[in-house]
């Protein structure tokens, strides 16, 4: 049965030090609120997984939550670098993190394999590149019919997936619309799952398009309005392109970053207070 918990309770119950966590959202519906709550609860030693780590992973890495990062593109989309990620990789600050780097196609296929209960995925990736030299997870096999060399990657099977969606119904069925990214696969590949939503309604369905994920694939639903900010939730609010630009300045300097996180994240009790404070300070 799907549980309905506050985000604080959900993180307390499911996010344990040392587990692997996939918080997906391909440019849309990024579970920012959940990331901040993990920072607030000072949960460390996580193996983070995400195709496109952006601000929320930059924050978690900068605050020392992650020991490992699996990713395929780590930048501030449309802006530039993730300074906290770079500081960790280039200077081991705040500590060393282990990198497991892939291409988008590899991670997409690996999530599909995880969702399908397969141990690995085959595709045509990485040919002629230096990836296989730096990532020993990348292997090759021969097609039994054509002899063609195919690339193999291990399935991604996170301990926990966290995603954000537009709505859940009162039973825990999830409805999401717009750019769907890799979230459904991440959720189905994971052993357990938390879904934050904009609102909880009586009923969800696909009549107006979108994707419904049935309740029996979801462990916890948390109602967190604006929970994807500064990313967006189609039908609810737009992307704060401005915040992505401002993040560049906030994150560039270690102390500036730590002060900002202390002021806005550690000193607020939850996401709604965080948003209120941002608004007061003219960030929203």
């Amino acid at each position: 049965m799907t549980e309905f918990l506050s985000l604080r309770e959900a993180v307390q119950k499911y996010v344990k030090p040392g587990i692997s966590v996939a918080m997906e959202g391909f440019t849309h519906l990024i579970p920012h609120a959940a990331g901040l709550e993990i920072i607030r609860q000072k949960i460390h030693n996580l193996s983070l997984i995400r195709m496109t780590p952006d601000i929320v992973y930059d924050q978690m890495i900068g605050m020392g939550c992650a020991d490992k990062l699996m990713f395929s593109w780590g930048g501030n989309p449309g802006v530039g670098s993730l300074h906290r990620l770079r500081d960790a990789v280039e200077n081991n600050y705040p500590h060393h993190i282990e990198i497991n780097e892939h291409s988008h196609a590899a991670m997409a296929n690996a999530y599909v394999a995880g969702a399908s209960n397969m141990p690995c995925a085959i595709f045509k990736g990485y040919r002629g590149t230096d990836y296989p030299g730096v990532n020993s997870d990348i292997r090759f096999i021969s097609c039994p019919y054509t002899g063609e060399t195919l690339t193999v990657v291990p399935a991604i099977k996170p301990d926990l997936a966290i995603i954000h969606a537009q709505r859940a119904d009162k039973h825990g069925n999830i409805w999401m619309k717009g750019i769907i990214g890799i979230q459904k696969e991440a959720l189905l590949a994971a052993r357990q799952s938390i879904v934050t939503v904009e609102e909880i309604v009586d009923q969800v369905n696909e009549k107006q398009g979108g994707t419904v994920i049935p309740r029996w694939a979801v462990n916890v639903v948390c109602c967190v309005p604006k929970g994807a900010f500064p990313s967006y939730t189609e039908g609810y609010y737009n992307r704060s392109n401005d915040f992505y630009v401002r993040w560049d300045e906030i994150s560039r300097n270690r102390q500036r970053f730590l002060d900002w996180m202390d002021r806005f994240v550690l000193s607020t009790i939850d996401f709604s207070e965080f948003m209120l404070k941002l608004e007061k300070q003219g960030y929203v």
Binding site: P77, R86, H104, G128, D130, V134, K184
Partner: protein
Amino acid sequence: MSKTGYTSNEMMVITASRFLKNDAVVFIGIGLPSLAANLARKLHAPNISMIYESGTLDTKPDRPPLSIGDDELSRKALSIVSVPEMFRYWLQGGRIDIGFLGAAQIDRFANINTTVIGDYNYPKIRLPGAGGATEIAGFCTHTLVMLQQTSSNFVNTLDFISSVGFGKEGNSRPKLGFTGKGPQAVITDLGIMEQSPETKELIMTHLHPGVSVEQASESTGWPLKFAESIKTTTVPLEKELSLLRKLEKMMK
């Protein structure tokens, strides 16, 4: 803006837009490629199909998007597909005509580094990584590469091969089993490079107006060769420039 009345970025974008034909299915990243495709669609290629990595097939944004996840893209898309479908059915499936690529470094065989400057394990600069570029480079029928031409970008040896142009010797594509033909052109702020059928390496076939052979040579980290009859790129037309500036203004 220089005394020519247009910037070198504008010259690059306009040059790239001219490569896009009306029926092209184009895989686009954010930045200059997105501007080029949107410019082409408003000018000479109204039926172009713009595909953004985030999953939007044939989107028709009114303004150029600010990121590949811009909500404008999803609102105006003919279809939105999942990331696995995008990479499996559409990209690896060989259904994209042209893919745009950027680069931090490029070598004479148009291979690309977007991963790291320096040693992979002890990087001087950790770049975002290849994302979708590795497979865009392999499976789009053609690619167009856009980047500033400097001697630190156009290098003798890449620090890391993130995406394959023509491969290590300039002729690896067939044995790598790629469906795509590789880079159709490398478009820089100085001109256009294309593969030489003889040497297999990139040679300069066009220079933008006012750019000299010496300038191009100095801005390249290997001994750059030039086409026998090197051409001058057509200067940006008034309608190209004014529309491009209108598009850029919409992004502010």
